[in-house]
Structure formats: structure tokens, C-alpha cells
């Protein structure tokens, strides 16, 4: 099964579609989770997912707004979509009945 960060990355890449590459995925994860992602964590996870066949990456043409540097484009494979679905279903199953999932949660302060 996927790890939490792997799931976030696949979901962000799937949502970005044709615009999925390092910088946009990083921004998407930061915007939706409020969590800063290091380039190291991002790229090593992309490599791992690609090795598992869950992502496909390729280098794009160089663009002037990036100082003439190319992008590493990312696309989620069918296997990646399936793995993300399984992770999501597992999270939903395990969360059934949890207080925070039924909006009855009351936060207590120590």
C-alpha cells in the first residue's frame, strides 16, 4: 500500500494533469496541506513511485521563465490511480466511526 506522502503526491499530480511537474506538485501539496515539502523528499518519492510503475516522468523543453531549464513532467499511470484508490478506500474504511469523521469531535485543551 502507498505511504501517506506518496498518496498526496499522486493525488496532486493527478489533479494537475498536464501541468504536473516538480514545482507545481510541491505548491499544490503546500497549498492543500499547509506543509512545506523539500525538493529532496519530492524527487526521491517521485523516483520511488516511478520505479514501482505508479508514475511516468519525462523531461520537457527548456523554458525562459525557469532560466532556460527544463521540467521533469509527471503523469500518473493506471496502476498509480488504482493504488491511490486503494489507499483512499482503506483510509475511509479505517476512519468509519472515528469521532473526527462524524463531526462529533470535541477538542480538549491540556
Amino acid at each position: 500500500m502507498l505511504g501517506e506522502f506518496e498518496y498526496l503526491l499522486i493525488t496532486a499530480a493527478a489533479g494537475l494533469g498536464e501541468e504536473a511537474y516538480g514545482a507545481t506538485i510541491r505548491e499544490e501539496i503546500a497549498a492543500t496541506t499547509g506543509r512545506n515539502v523539500s525538493i529532496g523528499a519530492l524527487y526521491t518519492t517521485i523516483d520511488r513511485l516511478e520505479q514501482k510503475g505508479l508514475l511516468k516522468t519525462w523531461m520537457s523543453e527548456a523554458t525562459p521563465q525557469r532560466g532556460g531549464r527544463s521540467k521533469r513532467m509527471v503523469r500518473v499511470t493506471a496502476k498509480g490511480v488504482q493504488a491511490a484508490k486503494e489507499f483512499y478506500a482503506a483510509v475511509m474504511r479505517v476512519s468509519r466511526g472515528a469521532k473526527w469523521a462524524t463531526s462529533e469531535v470535541r477538542v480538549t485543551r491540556d
Binding site: G22, R26, G40, A41, T44, M59, S70, K71
Partner: protein, 240 residues
């Protein structure tokens, strides 16, 4: 301060693969990271990549299997060359009883010197070919004996055991550049080294373990033959 950090980040990124370097520096420019943040990100990625590489067998084979034994043996040969030179050309020098030299003459000194150059170059080439991106591990393991062992060469300085460093570094540079050697040249070098070694050994001027230093030369022959087979007659960059 920020102005310094960007060139530092770009310099650090040179240790990454060219395509990855391009992608991450482009990403950092696009999102407008500050220089220090970019440097931190690049260093973080380098550390993660190194950690991944160190989990594989290759850098340890290069370091413990080639770097450490080769450098240790080459330190011994350097000491032998330096001491023989001193004995032959400065006989007035008071020698330590630990000197690794007996009655070698000029011919054996020249043979030793040739072997020192050839062994060092081939060992450097092999180390660079085996562990291009974790060369620091090989270097750290290879030079560890210099910091641990005293060598007992007085009045010669301890640094005389480092005579092999320049040809070794040249070999490393050629290995990093992927310099290809024609099979004929590699074979000639390996045969010459083996021949000179037999001559030295039969004259009692070499330690038995020094035979291990021939392994990189014959490895080079096998690589040159394989490369020539794959690339055809145009494959070599150095003349035969």
C-alpha cells in the same frame, strides 16, 4: 548574502545527474526560492541521494575492495621508492631500521617507479569507474591508513608515502571523464606491468600482496575489449 547562496546551490547541484540538476534548479527559480532556501533544498536532495547510494553494495566494494587495499599497498610502494632513492643518492643519511628497502639498485628503483605510476593510475581509474558518485567514500577509506599508521620512515617525512597521489588523481579524473582506452594500449600496459612485476618479484624487491595491484590493469583490459566490441573501431578516444 543571498547572492552568494545561489551560486553555492548551483555548484552543489553539480554533483547531481544533469537532468535532475536542470529540473530542480528550474523548480527553485520558478517558485522564487531565496538563495539559502535553494541551497538547503539542494543539499537535502544530495544527502538523500548519497544515502540511497550508500545502501547499495557498489560504493563499499569500491572503497573496501579496491580503494583501501590499493592505497595501503601504494603507500608501501611509495615508501619503498622514496627510501631506495635516499639510500642510492644520499648514502650519508642515517636510516631508520624500519626502512622497507634492502639492496635494490637503480634498475629496480626505475622498475618500482614505473610500477608505482602505472598501479596508481589504473587503481584511480578503476575506483572512479566503480563509484563515480560516492568517490568520497573510496577516498576516505583509501587514505584512512595514512592517518592511522606511523610508517616509521625517519628521517623521511610521513608525506613521502603519498608519492602515488598524483598519478592516482589523474587516473580518477580519466575514469570520471569516461576516457576510453584502446584494447591494444590497455593490453600493452597490463603486459608491461606484469612483466616488470615478475622481474622485480624474482629479485625479491616486492611484497607478495603487491600482485593484487595488477587487478585494476587487467580489469581495464577487459573493459577496453568489451567497449571496443560494443562500439566498433571508432570507440576509442586514446590512440593505440
Amino acid at each position: 548574502m543571498t547572492n552568494i547562496a545561489w551560486p553555492m546551490a548551483e555548484f552543489a547541484a553539480r554533483s547531481l545527474e544533469p537532468t535532475e540538476r536542470d529540473a530542480i534548479l528550474g523548480d527553485l527559480i520558478e517558485v522564487g526560492e531565496t538563495g539559502w532556501s535553494a541551497l538547503q533544498n539542494v543539499l537535502g536532495l544530495i544527502i538523500l541521494r548519497q544515502a540511497q547510494l550508500l545502501r547499495t553494495l557498489r560504493p563499499w566494494v569500491a572503497g573496501l575492495g579496491v580503494g583501501l587495499p590499493s592505497c595501503y599497498l601504494l603507500m608501501g610502494v611509495s615508501a619503498s621508492v622514496a627510501c631506495t632513492y635516499e639510500r642510492l643518492f644520499k648514502p650519508q643519511v642515517v636510516r631508520s631500521p624500519w626502512w622497507p628497502t634492502a639492496n635494490e639498485g637503480i634498475l629496480l628503483l626505475l622498475c618500482h617507479f614505473f610500477l608505482l605510476l602505472a598501479w596508481s593510475w589504473t587503481a584511480g581509474y578503476l575506483c572512479a569507474s566503480l563509484s563515480r558518485r560516492t568517490l568520497w567514500v573510496t577516498a576516505a577509506l583509501g587514505f584512512a591508513p595514512w592517518f592511522i599508521d606511523n610508517f616509521h620512515l625517519a628521517p623521511l617525512p610521513k608525506s613521502c608515502v603519498l608519492l602515488f597521489v598524483i598519478p592516482l588523481v589523474l587516473g580518477v579524473l580519466h575514469g570520471l571523464q569516461g576516457t576510453r582506452i584502446s584494447p591494444l594500449l590497455a593490453l600493452f600496459l597490463a603486459i608491461a606491468m606484469t612483466g616488470v612485476m615478475i622481474f622485480c618479484w624474482t629479485n625479491g624487491a616486492l611484497w607478495n600482496f603487491n600482485w593484487a595491484l595488477l587487478v585494476p590493469a587487467w580489469y581495464l583490459v577487459s573493459v577496453a575489449l568489451r567497449t571496443a566490441e560494443q562500439m566498433g573501431p571508432e570507440g576509442s578516444r586514446l590512440p593505440a
